[in-house]
Symmetry: C2
Subunit: 811 residues, 2 copies
Amino acid sequence: MELMIWMPIVMAILGLIYMWIKQSWVMKQDAGDGKMKEISDYIYEGALAFLSAEYKLLAIFVFVVSLALAAVSFIVPTTHILIVVAFIFGAIFSAFAGNIGMKIATKTNVRTTQAARTSLPNALKISFGGGTVMGLGVAGLAVLGLTAFFIFFFYFFMDSTWTNTMDMTVVLETLAGFSLGAESIALFARVGGGIYTKAADVGADLVGKVEAGIPEDDPRNPATIADNVGDNVGDVAGMGADLFGSYVATVLAAMVLGNYVIKDMGGAITDNFGGIGPILLPMAIAGAGIIISIIGTMLVKINSNDAKEAQVMGALNKGNWTSIVLVGLSCYGLVTWMLPETMQMEFFGEGLQEISSMRVFAATLVGLVVGAVISSVTEYYTGLGKSPILKIVQQSSTGAGTNIIAGLATGMISTFPSVLLFAGAIWASYAFAGFYGVALAASAMMATTAMQLAIDAFGPISDNAGGIAEMSEQEPIVRERTDILDSVGNTTAATGKGFAIASAALTSLALFAAYVTFTGIDGINIFKAPVLAMLFVGGMVPVVFSALAMNAVGKAAMEMVQEVRRQFRDIPGIMEGTGKPEYDKCVAISTQASLKEMMLPGLLTIGFPLIIAFAPLAFGMDKLAIAEMLGGYMAGVTVSGVLWAIFQNNAGGAWDNAKKSFEAGVEINGEMTYKGSDAHKAAVTGDTVGDPFKDTSGPSMNILIKLTCLIGLVIAPILGGHSEEGANLNEIKSEVNVEVTATNNNDLIAATIITTKTVNGETVTETETFNGTIEEIEAKAEKSGKIVSMDVNKNKETKTKEVKIIINDKD
Amino acid sequence: MELMIWMPIVMAILGLIYMWIKQSWVMKQDAGDGKMKEISDYIYEGALAFLSAEYKLLAIFVFVVSLALAAVSFIVPTTHILIVVAFIFGAIFSAFAGNIGMKIATKTNVRTTQAARTSLPNALKISFGGGTVMGLGVAGLAVLGLTAFFIFFFYFFMDSTWTNTMDMTVVLETLAGFSLGAESIALFARVGGGIYTKAADVGADLVGKVEAGIPEDDPRNPATIADNVGDNVGDVAGMGADLFGSYVATVLAAMVLGNYVIKDMGGAITDNFGGIGPILLPMAIAGAGIIISIIGTMLVKINSNDAKEAQVMGALNKGNWTSIVLVGLSCYGLVTWMLPETMQMEFFGEGLQEISSMRVFAATLVGLVVGAVISSVTEYYTGLGKSPILKIVQQSSTGAGTNIIAGLATGMISTFPSVLLFAGAIWASYAFAGFYGVALAASAMMATTAMQLAIDAFGPISDNAGGIAEMSEQEPIVRERTDILDSVGNTTAATGKGFAIASAALTSLALFAAYVTFTGIDGINIFKAPVLAMLFVGGMVPVVFSALAMNAVGKAAMEMVQEVRRQFRDIPGIMEGTGKPEYDKCVAISTQASLKEMMLPGLLTIGFPLIIAFAPLAFGMDKLAIAEMLGGYMAGVTVSGVLWAIFQNNAGGAWDNAKKSFEAGVEINGEMTYKGSDAHKAAVTGDTVGDPFKDTSGPSMNILIKLTCLIGLVIAPILGGHSEEGANLNEIKSEVNVEVTATNNNDLIAATIITTKTVNGETVTETETFNGTIEEIEAKAEKSGKIVSMDVNKNKETKTKEVKIIINDKD
């Protein structure tokens, strides 16, 4: 086996070692005194309580799905029972990454507060250090798990030596189990977490702020710990699981498409990487990304204790941009080193084309550009002081109604540049290097995942640090410092969401492409009515999913409200600070409610593709027709899901910052307006609507579209034309057919060799065209090995052509 | 020429005569006394002012588009200059229909008020009589115009005798101009009207109700006339133009697909209708629908002066259901009479299939079911007293934020049954009779348009009648009676919107199918990256369009607010009722603002498909590839547009009725809650958001999706493979190719004859498969005329097959 296959795993282990060092350093920092420590412990325990409840539910879920996958592996010959093992490990790795993140985040918050008592640079170093641990944990475990399983399956199925693309397909199909496991955890973490965080937030606010009139983060409010736990559950664990899933799925999809590049090149290539360079490349890029992210995180620091938001933001940007540029450079190196100088790739309807490795590199640059630009777009539509936010602020003066309309409109309009960007990226990366290019664009973008997550996780840590400062009644300077970090964290949270959407969109496209190639259908034709119908159904699912998620928040929040009201009523002295609130009860309610309420949307996500695949199968419908319908469904979910993700995230972000604008005061109709004004109250209403948008239903879209495409990929072998069973059932047979096309010139003709599989009347076609004189074509045709001999004679008198072909019938 | 071709035109004229009689009858009714008449005259003049301003703008628009179409007709040989004439007449007919509707509506309102002073049955008779005039005007002119132009073009291009499908394609392409003209007016009427009505409404409420504290419809409010004009502009003229456009486009699309049925049957059929039965059928169904609608409207009456909403609703339902059943019966008669007993239809990927006329009839039933069920679905999600509304009412108790979330969620969830219904309808009607079945399903549904519009227009007329009763200070009993009509009108308005969405969705699908057949592409494959990119872009456009429309309402309303404030300030004695408000100024502002603000969304609608078609054309991209991209765009717009239409209409309707629930009082947490409570205020905020949703952006979606697909259809010849110019440029050549497929059985083989056009490397294919022994196939192949002889010999030793074919090269 070539050494290069071990490279990503080494990088991943290096990343995990650095993570461990960083973690130890953070843990060694001063965790503060009595009250601070007490509150921090509550949050830590609350987070653990959520995790352990989640894990119990997960264990049941993983068990059920494992049984289903085992059943599939017995029915479909090309699906191996090892997919169950991969699935379970995918779930465990993702859960473990979330665990690391939650633990470090809940330990880092109080240390950040403590550091903020003396030094802002130190507070940043600690909070960002916590984020770094989270980022490297996710990225390191993702690459480690995926690479290790690939190496194992490559050994198990192929004895670590290239045989043919069909065997590699089995390897990658089994590997898809790992990705499915990871994404399943993301469903629980992102959707369940999203419901948790908003239920706790709304519940705490409704009774605490509104009914009892006590400030946010007041320790007398029984739901305040649940609220702080929620920040970690939703923004840390949820985001981590989301990106873990994207990371793994993207690399997997790129590997699948890499295998098809080898197929297009004749089924085998010779390179210095055991003939699997195109398959190893995405893993290598991911591995390099880990080391680059470490370098990037090292650059994030400030020196002055009087630094403001701009300096902190600048430090983060420095690290971020450096890592993006370094990934670009490493892509150049890896692509030119690992890929053949020119490759043949099949372009749908255009036949085989020669693609240079430089064009693949160009495709990776497209991905990096998308990652960078989408953050700016998000920042423009949701950033404080930006024109869309100022407009919402102005519209708040005429009441909540106009504020809501303005926020909705902002979110809706923000789909314009975002979708044009995605559409351009799809087009460009495909034009450069086919769907392999699309998948590698996604891989390159995802290579900075560790850095992105570090920036992202730093936000909720700082938010928590501020909460602890408030609850433990620190001096105002402490809160001021944590507020600077928190404010920057809010911006990075918004741009991080943009990155997560972009990653989900590109990942889904790559999975979609992998699905089509897996099933062997020759495209997804929406002019077929059943496919069009499924496109409609797919488009509807994200809308209904969002509604269910929003309603879930409402229901869970109501349970929380009842509990907080009960405690205020039943616990003596709670308002005077002498009675102790039962924080754990609120945590338990949020936990149970969120996990219960995520069932229905989860069922929708998993159930629909299964029904579309298996219901018609039960009625004996043609498998490839079903595969095409399922593809239409996947496209509908992806297009609609991306739109609703952008709409909801940006509308929510915009409302949030419109509300925050009043804290510093805003000018409305020439008058300065502040907190407590009617306009501010209208803005608060907008934020109430925006909260589930941006923290629950919006981010859930990422999981919905990825999981839908992954489920499609996993059941692809059942529907696909390449499975052995399918071959027996459907009498697949490779056939060689000759199509003779005459032009006006009598001497020159064009001959097209079409290799056709016929499956229940549907034809899957590969085309190769020769142009030239009859003699030239005959020579080429014979050389191709498919045709033994061919003879074309024109008879001008009778106006007929006689074509005599001898076809190789060995296939 | 066969007599049957004149049948629809006769029906249309009968309908228009009945309309004229009904109109005269309504006009003869007592128009009341001084104050009532005065107010009614203001509304009438305001409506005329809007119309005349709209017509000016329209004239410019029609002129510009005519020039563009003329240019197209010079460039593309198969597009005839007569398309310009058809376009202009389509615009004029639609505008004229709108004019009739607006005039009768603004004349009927005061007569309804006057009748309500003595008799509820009479008030219903008059208000519904006005609606009937509107309905028959729209349906009658639509059928008259379309049929007359068809007869003329059929005479002009084909001398009224069947020649071949290509000539008929030219006829229908030219006829598409009429449809484009009609839909362009709909853009102005629906989008402009939608902005007008809400700008006036919001402007009147914000200053009148909120700032000055005077009730709705108070004559002291300068914007009150504009508000009442708005009801007519949006709900009467806008809805009328919308359905006029759907009606024409549906019938046209069904005719196009009927032509392709003839093509699939060998290019000519023999029947008693000059060989164009499948093309005449949709027009005949439309013609029959007019007479049936007249019968239906005659059934709408009540007898008791003490009738309540239920009786009025019952009378409307009786008429509606009777007309639906009668359309079903007439479809049975017409389909079995006009179509061949069995037809051959090409099913994509499945080849030619035998379709009986009974299956076509089944497809029409699918359309009727969709029309009926979608109304019930809409009624469920938006109706007073229904569970979704009660939930929103409950959520109002915790403030505007939760009310908004509940309303949004209701609209979103309502996409679930609606989309499943549409998807099922697409699937079923296609399974019954291909895309011809889909188009006929739409035609059957639209056959009751006159009845639907009568029911629909009756709502705003009654609303206006109530307004006049209020403004002219009638006795309470008058308002009570008009309120009964108004309340029923609110329900029919919601279900009417459902019908309009369903009609737009089915129309777009039919147009989409016609587009694909027009361009000659063999489907729209979203696995091609550029097509997928355009699917994304198409999905985004309805979202951005909605945002622009909502923002337009906000801007126009602000101008209105300024003007009303100015009048309150500048006109002495206005609040005491001694100074006279300048109603016309408010009308002018609403008119100008609405027409100005609809430019940008209008440009988006028209501009995007043109850019997608012509920008790549300028860069020399392959025409069929562009056609496929444009098809992807159309699909994206349709899927996303239908979703957003349902979402916005139903959310808006739900908020509206949640607010109205407080008028009779609702039970929240065990307490009866009424108008003026905090919960009611929250519900009012929800209604503010819902207003532009349900009256502006939501209904505009219908126009967006239909116009997008129509523009596609009109530019199809430029991109299409069937134009003569295309033939010269691209060296199209019909070729016969033989594909030999061997099964495991050595004696049986399958031969597929593929007729292929090659256009710039893309192949358009028709497939015919023979199964049998070699001898049988040879016999069949020779009989087909395409193959002179064919010889297949298997050599088992060398494992080769020798295929010798003599191909007819005459094509």
